[in-house]
Every structure is written in C-alpha cells, then in structure tokens.
Amino acid sequence: MKTTIAPPAAGSAGGERSRLRRLIGGGALKLVLLLYAAGTLYPLYWLFISAMKTNEDFFAHPYSLPSEWVFTNISRAWDLGNMGRAMLNSAIVTSVSVALTLLLGTLAAYVLSRFQFRLHKLALGIFVIGMLVPIHSTLVPLFIFMNKIGMLDTYGALILPYTAFELPIAIFIVIAYLSSIPREIEEAALIDGNGWWGVFFRMILPLCKPALATVAILAFLRFWNDFAFALVFINSQALKTLPLSLSLFSDGYGTDYSLTMGAMAIAVLPTIIAYLIFQEQIMKGMTAGAVKG
C-alpha cells in the first residue's frame, strides 16, 4: 500500500522480510479502510433492504436480506403518503430555484468581473458579507416578512430564499471561472455588433458551462434536501416538499416501518444518482462550500 508515511523502498539487507511485513501491514490497513467505508454505507444499505421487506420480516430479521422481496412499500408510499405530490413539489421548487440561481448568479458575476463602476466594491461586499449570515437566524424574520406580504405557503416562499442563499456561492464560482477566460473574444464579438446582452447570452453563458454545471449540482443538492425553510414557511399539505413530508410521515404511518423506509428510499434516490454521476464536482464543490460558507 502506498501511503505518504511509508518510506521509499528500504532496499537494505533483510529487505525481504520487512517487505513482507509491509505487505501484510498494508493489507490490514486496506481492510480497516474497507470496513470503515462499509460502516459508512451500511445505514443506507439497511434503508434499501428494509424498504423491500414486509413489516414482520423487518422486526424478525432486521439485519438479513429480505426473505421475500416486496416492492409494494415504495408504490404504497407513493400513493398513501403523498410522496408523489411531495416529489413533484420538490422537483418544481428545486428546478425553478436552480434556474433562477444560474441566471441571476451568472448575470451578476459577469457584471462584477468585467465592468468597473462606482458601486462595484459595495455590490461585491454585500455578497461577501451575506455569506457570513447563518441561515437559521433568518427563519424568524423571514417568517414575519412573508406573513406580512402574504407569501407564506407558496412556492415562492421557498424559491426566493433558496436562490438568495445560493447566489454568493454561484457568483464566486462563476467569477473565478470568468477570470480564466480572456476578454479579447468578447471585445471582438462586441465590435461585431452584438450588444452586451448578445455577448452574454451567445458567448458568456455557453463558455461558462463547466462552472454552471458545478453551481447547478451544488444548488440541486442543497434545495432538494432543505428541511428548515420548508418546515417554517410551508404549511399546506399540497405544497410540502419531500423532506418535510417525510418528517411528518411517521405521524400517519408511524408503525408501518417498511412503508416509511420505502418513502425514504424514494427521497434519497435522486441525490444518490446525482452523486454517482458527478462525484468529483460534488466533493470539490461541497468542500469549498464548507470552507467559505
């Protein structure tokens, strides 16, 4: 096993025996790592096998594979627990918020990276300072504000705060990306008779695709999984998103554990698929997000 702690091959006398020992030690470390990784994934594995069991099976053999594979939990959760409706709500809120974040974020990033104007520093400063705001401390004032303007219990009550809190990260990712693109191309396009809007939509947006992909994936994960905003701003059954519906699922079907597991499986599947496809971007992006935000 190659690690940075292991010294470069000793190559001294008796190297044969120490090499053997290193080989065994390396194997043991690999095994420990494998076990730890398996332990990390186990709760997820357990969720999926439990979602395929009957309740009797779930209580009698919690660890084993289903003695009889049942797929009705998932279809019943979809119908009974309003998971279908919740999935639709999550999809609407998430996709509109992602689109809004991309559009507003890229426009702002383009302006902030390419133009010098009087309030440039102030605008940039507002986004930097805003990143320091702890999300939870805005729940109460936002609730009061939305209550006043009659916005509670609408899709907008989620879409606008989601977009707002994702904008700084989106703007800084796109600004960083734009700084690596030479301005000459845009200037040429501008001379060719494209206005700023033409340059933006025909050049900047397509050029920024890799950065936009990262922004979109991170935003998708954040919006899809959000619980706090939905908990406070959404009350009506017809508008509840997946995490919120799930957290209330046990009120109605508390003892039907396999059914609840089926509902949870529905909720996590989209993010797991996204993760399997975009691992590298997600790991890098979320780590950067943790450091900055």
């Binding site: 940075t4 398996a38 977009t163 790991m283």
Partner: protein, 291 residues
C-alpha cells in the same frame, strides 16, 4: 445613445435582480431580527417595545444555557471525533489510486443524503424496541447495556452527535488530503534521508506541515455546530424535557410553538452575534497563521 450609457444600463439591469433577491431575503432579515428583538409580539396586534427584556429573559432561561452547552458538546465531539478520523483517513488515502478513490467516495456519500433521512434512519438505529444498536448489543451478550438512547438525558446528546459527525466527515477528509498532497516531495526526501519514518515522521514532519489546516478544520467544526438543526428536530425535537435542545432548535421551539416572535427574533440575533464572534476569532487565527 452613447456607449457608456448603454453599458451603464446593462450593468444596472443585469446586477439588480440578484442584488434585490439577495438583500431582501438574506441581508434585511438580519436587520429585522435585530429590530423585532426589542419587542414583545405575538404575531398579531401591536408589538410592545420592551428594550433588552427579551435578552434578559434569554440569559435567565436555563434552557438557553442548556442549548449553548449542547452546541459545545457538538463542537467537542466534532473535534475529538471528526478531525482525528478524517486525518487518519486522509493519511491512508493520500495517493490517487482507484482503491483510495473508491473509499473516499464512500466516506463522502452521507453529505449528499437528506438530513431528514439521516435523522430518521439513526432514529431507527437507536430505537428502544427494534433498533439495530440494541439488537446488536443483545446479540453479543451485552443486553444490560441496551436502553432508550435518545431518551436518556445523560446520553442522548452524545447519541445525537454521532450521526451529525458521521455524515459530515467528507469535507474534512478532502481538505486534509489536499493539504497532504501539497507537501512537496523534497520534504519527504529530506525526511527519508534523516531517517524519519512511520510515527516519527508523522509527528515531527507531516503534522507540523499541515498544522494550519488542522486549525482551519477546528474553526469549521465550531462554525458547523451552529448550523446543526435538522438532525435534532427529526430525531428528538429537542426533547425529552429540552435535553437535546440546540441554539437553532431553541430559536425554533421558542418562536413557532408558542408564538413569541419578538423573543424568537432576539434568539436569532444572539445566534448571529455568536457566529460573528466565531468568525472574528477565525480571522484572527488565520491571520496569525499567514503572518
């Protein structure tokens, strides 16, 4: 129309939507919560100005202090649990082999899962009757250890902290791997010439090289604890008898369950003040590091 005017109009129209949404939904709420924090207000009727009354009530409320203490438990558990595990993992996973990449991906996985699902799964793991933990203990003959993990006020905060730490290890791992990969090969060569290997090299070469990163991760643990909310709401709701209340859940429970919007605003402001204080400390520490 002259070009400068045209570009001015473009700047305005392109920048304003983002700025308006951001200021209205992320910046102004902070100012409102500071303002409402001085009032007694049930959400309807007139708000009554009571000065610092809400803050006095807060500081006299044992639940507030309990919540603060629980946040501290989260910080400590992250520092003694997350950081050593992530660092050890990073040391073993520095090289970019396919095996290491696979393990890294697995360890990062919980980061993309819904916090509600994580909370519910761990609620089941801790369940008194059918929970995996109690069943496992019974299986290995430690039946006397089985208990209601989330109800026992002596233990439940620690029980709650495990899934929070478990699901957040990924970024720490990646931060440490990046730091370790940044150590130049000359330093490794020099250490090899000096005969430093194994633990000795770890303690006297590797750790000092990445100490700045360790400090950054400790600061992240502190900031991260203030963000904890979802897991606790789902697993315990802050109970039983407020024993697992955190600052954020205290804010939630003392606002929306009892319609004390003024008080909730004051708690929100307190959370803001505490996190600004932490950011200040963070900046002081990192500045000293770089100078």
């Amino acid at each position: 129309m002259p070009a400068s005017l045209r570009s001015n109009r473009f700047i305005l129209i392109a920048l304003l939507p983002a700025l308006i949404v951001f200021v209205l939904f992320a910046v102004l709420p902070i100012l409102w919560s500071i303002y409402y924090g001085f009032f007694q207000w049930k959400g309807m009727g007139d708000a009554k100005f009571i000065g610092l009354g809400n803050y006095r009530d807060m500081l006299q409320d044992p639940v507030f202090w309990r919540a603060l203490r629980n946040n501290l438990i989260l910080v400590v558990s992250a520092i003694v649990g997350q950081i050593p595990i992530a660092l050890a993992g990073a040391l073993l996973l520095t090289a970019n082999t396919w095996f290491n990449r696979l393990i890294r991906s697995a360890l990062f996985m919980p980061m993309v899962l819904s916090t509600v699902v994580i909370g519910m799964i761990w609620g089941y793991i801790y369940n008194y009757q059918f929970g995996l933990l109690n069943q496992a203990l019974t299986l290995i003959g430690l039946e006397s250890w089985t208990q209601a993990w989330l109800s026992n006020p002596k233990l439940n905060m620690y029980a709650v902290s495990i899934p929070i730490n478990w699901s957040n290890i990924g970024p720490y791992l990646i931060i440490f791997i990046a730091a370790l990969q940044n150590i130049s090969s000359e330093i490794h060569d020099a250490a090899a010439i000096d005969g430093a290997t194994g633990w000795r090299k770890l303690v006297s070469v590797t750790l000092p090289m990445i100490w700045g990163t360790v400090v950054v991760t400790i600061v992240l643990c502190i900031a991260g604890s203030l963000k904890a909310f979802d897991h606790v709401i789902v697993m315990t709701g802050g109970g039983p008898a407020k024993s697992t209340e955190l600052l954020a859940t205290y804010m939630y429970n003392s606002t929306f369950a009892v319609y004390r919007y003024g008080y909730g605003s004051a708690v929100s402001t307190m959370i803001l003040l505490i996190s600004l204080l932490l950011i200040g400390i963070n900046m002081a520490v990192t500045r000293r590091k770089s100078s």
